[in-house]
């Protein structure tokens, strides 16, 4: 109470003036704050404040900063603030505070561009680092895979079968239906355009090429990435959160051969057949579109298709799916392994797994297409 008493001696409020006497010291900051709190309402209401330093000889820096903060707040609220009769020392401290304040603003404004560049750079760096660790992960998985192939008895066949069922067998309906629908739409739209030129007999060839080269494998991969890539990330991520992965590691388990390789092996076994199924149902959809909407007899469709396609077209899609299987299993597991923290991290990991694996699948597809142009007879220019 004494401190407040002595401070009140130094400060006196008489609307709209605050009279300051003597030197406001650092130790009096608390009471100064109390004083401001007490009179804030009155000052705001009066619409102006004059701080009179007539009987004052100086001010310490902390009270000055507190007062300056109060002035700023008042100015923002539309209150006019004036300092009167201040000795040089007080004036200079408020001036330098004002200067410092505006410089701070300038710096902040100038840095916004820099911030954008920095943010861009650091997220790019993070992405690059992630790709690096993903690559390392991939090699470790492949290493574990090769080792397991040498000792087939060590493979957890039970898990492989489980994942084959989850990722392969249970994906059959959706892969078949979606490719069939796409085949119908593509067959109808292509045939409709071609009929203008009386070229609808070429529709089966166009449909066969686009389904077997691109759409079948790609759509199957996208669906598997969405169904199983996310499931792998969620499964391993949840184990990671519950410290089960660490428990395995401490017990001396190789987490790769235990958690990752069974998933990859299962996908390697089912993906080619999912692609085959996707191709067949897509072509069947096209056949249906031809017979129903374009008046193209089924025999014609099949014979035209037979002339256009060679076995390599089908095999190529199945070969590509092996690459996709490796990508999807690894990206999913990698994202799961990367999970740190709580349940929300698992959600982020599943999303990231789907996005990144679809991205990588399309990237790989583009690269493989370049190769395919050189391999397939009749394609190189």
């Amino acid at each position: 109470m004494e401190v407040v008493g002595t401070l009140l001696d130094k400060l006196e409020f008489d609307t709209p003036r605050i009279f300051v006497r003597g030197v406001l010291e650092d130790s009096e900051t608390g009471p100064l704050r109390d004083f401001i709190e007490k009179h804030r309402r009155e000052v705001m209401d009066s619409g102006q404040l004059i701080v009179d330093f007539q009987d004052s000889t100086g001010i310490d820096s902390v009270p000055a900063v507190v007062l300056y903060g109060f002035f700023k707040e008042l100015r923002r609220a539309g209150v006019r603030v004036r300092i009167e009769n201040s000795p040089a020392s007080v004036e200079s401290i408020f001036e330098s505070l004002a200067k410092f304040d505006s410089r701070g603003m300038e710096e902040r404004r100038r840095s916004s561009f820099r911030e954008v560049v920095e943010a861009f750079g650091s997220s790019g760096y993070e992405f690059a680092m992630m790709i690096v660790s993903l690559t390392r992960f991939l090699f470790e998985t492949i290493g574990a895979f090769v080792q397991l192939i040498m000792h087939p008895l060590k493979i957890r066949w039970q898990m492989v079968l489980y994942y084959m069922e989850e990722s392969g067998y249970k994906a059959i309906p959706i892969v078949a239906v979606l490719n069939w629908l796409l085949g119908v739409v593509l067959g109808y739209q292509a045939g409709y355009q071609m009929r203008v030129f009386g070229a609808e007999t070429f529709m089966p060839a166009l449909l066969g090429y686009s389904i077997t080269w691109e759409i079948g494998p790609m759509l199957a991969a996208v669906l598997v990435a969405g169904r199983s890539g996310s499931a792998y990330a969620a499964e391993i991520g949840t184990m990671q959160v519950r410290e089960e992965v660490d428990a395995l590691r401490v017990m001396g388990f190789d987490t790769f051969s235990y958690l990752v390789t069974p998933k990859m092996m299962a996908l390697l076994m089912v993906m080619p057949f999912l692609v085959l199924l996707a191709n067949l149902s897509g072509i069947f959809g096209g056949l249906l579109a031809g017979t129903l909407f374009l008046g193209l007899p089924a025999e014609t469709f099949i014979s035209e298709l037979g002339k256009a396609l060679i076995p390599l077209d089908i095999i190529w899609g199945m070969l590509k799916s092996i690459v996709y299987a490796v990508i999807i299993a690894n990206v999913g597991s990698f994202m799961g392994m990367k999970v740190r923290g709580g349940a929300s991290a698992v959600g982020q990991a599943t999303t990231a797994a789907v996005v990144l694996s679809i991205f990588m699948v399309i990237l790989a597809d583009a690269l493989l297409s370049l190769l395919f142009v050189h391999i397939r007879p009749g394609l190189s220019m």
Binding site: S122, R242, E243, E244, D246, A247, R249, V250, M251, F253
Partner: protein, 251 residues
């Protein structure tokens, strides 16, 4: 050398938002068969210390020398987690059997070991239940059994009883001390509970705030069976409490 030696260990986590110096440097030794409690406030790096000893984190500086196993084999480490980390898709029996199966023990020997262990931790009637069907205390018993069945040379425990109610946690503390004396394994037990530390441990080290460094070492000399009500017990409690208070004030 059959003791655990931790020398100048310090760990920094590299995160996107900057480096976090989580621990150290700390140095200490634990004799074979001793029971060490690492006592410290939340976030002081206790868990990091355990994970580094277990080889789950890589230290920046310093090293950990594990106690060698009997007849010179690789030391076996058991790790009991805060939440048990039992495998939810396995029954309690398969959970406990799991590390033995991984070690390549044959089926009949395995079965025998598991049944004995179930009896030791008082879960004989619960071998065929799944972890989620058990109470928290029973889950921790099962987790402890899964570690003890490997006859670990070093048992690391990360606040295993902190999520249990006071009574269950006391019960488990009693069984842990009994089990430790029977198994004569080295234990490093991490906790923020002073009473738990004084009751369980032979040695206590206190870590300060992040980055955790040892602020006090204490040897608990209390006769067995330990009583939570005895005068000397309370003296240790008060004295360690004082160290904790000063840590809080410092913070």
């Amino acid at each position: 050398m059959r003791r655990l030696t931790v020398s100048d260990l310090s760990v920094t986590y590299r995160e996107a938002s900057g480096d976090v110096h989580a621990l150290g440097p700390v140095s200490f030794q634990v004799e074979a068969g001793d029971f060490l409690c690492v006592l410290g406030p939340t976030g002081c790096g206790k868990t990091t210390l355990l994970r580094t000893i277990a080889g789950l984190e890589t230290p920046d500086t310093g090293r950990v020398a594990l106690p060698a196993g009997a007849d010179g084999r690789e030391p076996v480490i058991g790790y009991v987690y805060q939440q048990g980390a039992l495998f939810p898709w396995m029954t309690v029996r398969s959970n406990i059997e799991f590390p033995l199966r991984a070690a390549g023990m044959n089926r009949s020997a395995r079965r025998e070991e598991v049944e004995t262990m179930l009896g030791t931790v008082g879960l004989s009637a619960f071998g065929d239940t799944y972890p989620h069907q058990l109470s928290g205390g029973m889950q921790q018993r099962a987790a402890l059994a899964r570690c003890l069945v490997m006859r670990p040379d070093l048992l690391l425990m990360d606040e295993p009883f902190s999520s249990l109610d006071a009574r269950t946690s006391q019960e488990l503390q009693n069984s842990l001390r009994d089990l430790w004396k029977k198994a004569s394994t080295t234990v490093v037990f991490v906790t923020h509970n002073i009473e738990e530390a004084v009751y369980l441990a032979e040695k206590v080290v206190v870590l300060g705030h992040r980055p955790g460094q040892i602020v006090r070492r204490e040897t608990i000399q209390l006769p067995d069976p330990r009583s939570r009500l005895s005068g000397p017990f309370t003296d240790y409690l008060v004295s360690l409490r004082q160290t904790f208070e000063s840590l809080v004030l410092e913070h």
